[in-house]
Amino acid sequence: MTPAEIALLAAWCAALSLFALAGGLLLSGIDRKLAAHMQARIGPPIRQPFIDTVKLLQKENVVPANAIPWLFSAAPVVALVSSVLVLFYIPVASTMPVLGAYGDLVLVMYLLTVPALALVAGGFASGSPYATIGAQREMVTMIAYEFPLAIVVIGVAWRLGAAGISHPFALQSIAANPVWSVTGPLGLAGVFILLVVLAAITPAELSRIPFDTQEAETELAGGLLVEYSGRNLAMFTLAQAAKTLVLAAVIVAVFFPWNLSSFLAMPGLLAQAADLLFFLLKAVLVLFFAVTLVRVAMARFRINELVSFYWVYLSVIGLAGIVLLMADVVAGPLAGVGV
């Protein structure tokens, strides 16, 4: 790469980082507003997460006496950096992933666990029993949802590969060839099931009700985050916001990759802007159904219920989705549809 290319890449990464933070906070604000309206409340203004973050950044940063200081302070940084980093590998609107050449969906899957691991490390380093329990629960939760998540990723990529698409794990090819377009009716059902599974994993990834056992306000008083304050807490909040956007972007990229500009002819810059707005709209819709609607309609799960939910029910459902996809590949040529 020439220096100019590197500079361009760096500029893109900086812009994307800003977009990850601002977009994530915006999505959190919309989520809070929508939840409030569903609970017959007015709710905070949509810009509330921005106000909160700015305020947190100005507050005192307390490190508990019995914490491990370097780990305690490093965890939020790692969480924030890794959450933002994921977005470099995911297509946003009509922009292809900036680092797409260096990583695929499997890398995204692994990167998504890093913020959670940082939270666990920070929780254990806090030296508080609440945070320790929260950290244990976060680990268990992570182990629980990784398997169904892998099922979704492999299922989609395998189907694309079976349809003859090269580099099926690369997000460029996934976004360029919507998985719905390569399947027959059986496969559509299978893809839909995988979408439901991925949507059901989202609240756990974002530690939202009913899968927020690791923070569980009424049980653990904030769990993992109980000892965090000031700048460190702000960084975790931002990491959480970025992760919200990233997860929405993953679901959008894998299942709803269409762009407005491919349907309507528009001048270049306008097309970019329209695609970005359309992307945000898709993200809001995805999060509304996967997170907001679920969290206002359910009570919190116990950790053992959470594990059996993911390992047993969701895994079986996900495997059923894969079986449908396989049947689709087999039945497709026979029925003369699909591939």
């Binding site: 009913p210 009424t218 009570a299 919190r300």
Partner: protein, 409 residues
């Protein structure tokens, strides 16, 4: 997470201030992984010396002090205290006053149970239900304000009667509120009882066996949910309850079986909301005309109280269970002795069998399930040289024997 750390139990303190607790109490849990192995708790964090204040005031003043014992039970304590004083002074309460007391008392039960249901939903992480129940609770609060002039600390009960009458125009307002609740009850029941997450989190959680419930002398919905057929309104009727047909609400009458768990406590409380509506309706239709107080002139009432000697006990079925006031008058302005036993006092010990063997996740809902009211309960806090000490059973026995001897003169 290794085998070794599982063997070594660790301690988790919860309280005195914790989001799971609406009032201060200090829990110490011995945990094994996510499971509670043992639990100890220390009340006495909200002692305000109400009895000390009361013993320096006259009964007419104390009634309004009793209003402030509890934030929810604005009528229970004042009614209970008034019953005790009326017993001592031989004051005959007019029938109409008894009915008004009953109506306000039942409205209080409705708002208290709805408040509790909202708190329970919040403890389970089901905030939508919290907002819903607290919104419908407002209707009862509005009616209470209309009847008494206050939303909390009603100030409606007076020794010898009540301070406000219910006029015919108010019947329509009460009737409208009752109709709303009766219409809503099925919805509320299905929200709480048919929701799968609530059923999953509450069924067979925090079980209190019938035997434990009896041996620990639990009262109110906590006891009834374990299948103990106790309700002062049915067993020892006071106010207008003698004329009414009140049957204790037991879970097996609704579900056909008794588990004694958190779920059953939800059932009992929600059904009692419906029962209270019926009681109020019956009271409204049968309420006789007449005066609302035995003695309108407070000076004369005070003189009667001052002359009285003897001891009296007022027992009232509060939303949380039996509330008891013991009063002893010796011909002076202020009582010689006044003891308040709030309903939560009898229920706190049931936490221990309920919490043992439960999971951390269940602690908030189990603690909330007896609807603890600690500022009502806390009567004692021993602090000497800035240090708190604990009284053993022997100490308490010695102290109570001394007090009994002192009272016997």
């Amino acid at each position: 997470m290794s085998g070794e750390s599982k063997k070594a139990p660790y301690r988790v303190p919860i309280g005195p201030n914790h989001p799971a607790l609406k009032e201060p109490v200090m829990f110490t849990f011995e945990m094994e992984g996510e499971v509670v192995r043992d639990v100890d708790f220390a009340p006495g964090q909200a002692h305000r010396g109400i009895e000390w204040m009361g013993m320096r005031r006259n009964p007419v003043q104390i009634v309004h002090l009793t209003d402030r014992i509890c934030g929810i039970c604005g009528v229970v304590h004042s009614l209970s205290f008034s019953l005790a004083v009326e017993q001592i002074a031989g004051i005959e309460v007019p029938e109409r006053a008894d009915y008004i007391r009953t109506i306000v008392h039942e409205f209080e039960r409705i708002q208290s149970h709805l408040l509790w249901a909202g708190v329970a939903a919040h403890e389970l992480g089901f905030d939508s239900l919290l907002y819903l129940t607290w919104r419908v609770r407002e209707e009862a609060m509005d009616v209470i304000e209309n009847l008494t002039g206050n939303r909390v600390n009603y100030g409606i009960v007076q020794v010898g009667g009540v301070r406000r009458d219910i006029v015919p125009e108010q019947h329509a307002i009460i009737e409208k509120c009752l109709a709303t609740y009766e219409g809503l009850l099925d919805t509320l029941l299905s929200f709480f009882l048919d929701d799968r997450t609530i059923r999953m989190r509450c069924r067979d959680v925090g079980v209190l066996s019938r035997k434990d419930a009896v041996e620990l002398c639990t009262v109110g919905p906590t006891a009834r949910a374990s299948g103990v057929n106790v309700d002062l309104r049915q067993d020892y009727p006071y106010a207008a309850y003698g004329d009414l047909d009140v049957k204790a609400v037991l879970p097996d009458r609704y579900l056909g079986e008794t588990h004694g768990d958190v779920y059953d406590r939800i059932v009992v409380r929600l059904l009692e909301v419906g029962q209270s509506c019926q009681i109020i309706r019956q009271c409204l239709s049968e309420m006789p005309a007449g005066p609302i107080t035995a003695e309108e002139k407070l000076v004369k009432l005070l003189a009667t109280c001052k002359k009285a000697t003897g001891e009296g006990i007022g027992r009232v079925e509060a939303p949380r269970g039996e509330c008891l006031h013991y009063v002893r008058m010796e011909g002076k302005d202020s009582p010689a002795s006044w003891k308040v036993k709030a309903s939560s006092y009898s229920n706190l010990m049931s936490w221990i069998p309920m919490l043992r063997g439960s999971q951390i996740a269940d602690i908030p809902i189990i603690v909330a399930s007896i609807d603890p009211c600690l500022s009502c309960t806390d009567r004692v806090a021993i602090v000497q040289d800035n240090r708190r000490s604990i009284l053993t059973k022997d100490d308490l026995h010695r102290l109570s024997a001394e007090k009994t001897r002192r009272l016997q003169g």
